[in-house]
Amino acid sequence: MATEATAEAGKAVGMPQLDFSTWPNQIFWLLVTLVVIYLVLSKVALPRIGAVLADRKSTITNDLAAAEELKQKAVEAEKAYNDALANARTEAAKIIAAAKAEIQKDLDAATARADAEIAAKTAESEKSIAAIRDGAAAAVAEVARDTAVELVTALGGSADANAVSAAVAARLKG
């Protein structure tokens, strides 16, 4: 056990921890220290740090909520965009179909008109072809008759117009 004298000399004999003469001093200063630290912590440090942590927590929570909201908005915007796109597609398809139908109608009408015109022209042509053929047949008979008359005359005979006509007609039939 250290005596006061040795402790004062700065030399420890045995354990200074068991030198009970210094205990009141240590205990007094320890209690002062603890009270000061307690006051500093409970009045200043801990409320401040607690408030900062709470602030941060609420800030983070708010930010997360805001982010969630923005995400929701983005999803909605995407959905609206997709809807608009789908609408535009169906609209375009409708317009295309309508345009096609109209064109088809015009085309059909034009085709019908053209067909009718072609038919009319064909009929007209056939008529004129028939007329030309008739004309040609008559002309052939006339030419044959004239030629026959000329041949008969040239051979020195007198041509009987009626006989020649009958002969030519017979030949043409034959």
Binding site: L34, I49, V52
Partner: protein, 250 residues
Amino acid sequence: MATEEGSGLAIHPMDQFVVKPLFGDGPIQWYTPTNVTLWMAIAVLAVVALLVLSTRRRAIVPSRGQSVAELFYGFIHKMVEDVAGHEALKFFPYIMTLFMFVFLSNMLGLIPMSFTTTSHIAVTVVLALLVFLTVTLVGLYRKGLGFLAMFWVTSAPLALRPVLAVIEVVSYFVRPVSHSVRLGGNLLAGHAVIKVFAGFAGAMGVASVVPIAAIMAMYGLELLVAAVQAYVFTILTCVYLRDAVGDAHH
């Protein structure tokens, strides 16, 4: 704890623990400013610097100092809540005080030539008795005689309960002893060992590389011990406090 005198080997591992007056050589009265006062005051300043000055900007995005303060706060707050229960949170400033004091005193004690206040049984006994008295008084106040039910182990067979009750009571009253001696003894032993090695280093010439290496290793270990003992002291406080404020189940 023999100190060898003479023969070149002058090792005084306990000198570092001597309580001396700061001014003059007079007798140590209870109010005398001593090296105890000095190093406790430094611990107070360290607490202020660590937890008050560093947080003065109250930043949402903390600076390094503020992060450390928040780390301490969160660590102890979580410990109190997890170990002692939500009810015990009103004792959070008290437990934080104990932790900061013990932790910083342990750390400051590792500065060469410093004085380790927590290596003194006087200090750790008072700390442990404060915890013991707090737990006992709070327990009796909140639970009345029901607090004594924790000595009556209802989960044990009836015949064993009186025996267990005796053991429980003894262990309850031994708590402050183990609580205080664990802290004081750890620090005392570590510091004394470092000092012994330092004494060898001074007397061994070139071969003193060996004790110096040993001192470095011990110093690393002592850093760990300083932090772990502060942690252990605090978590035991929480465990004891749970008996007083929490539900009776262990």
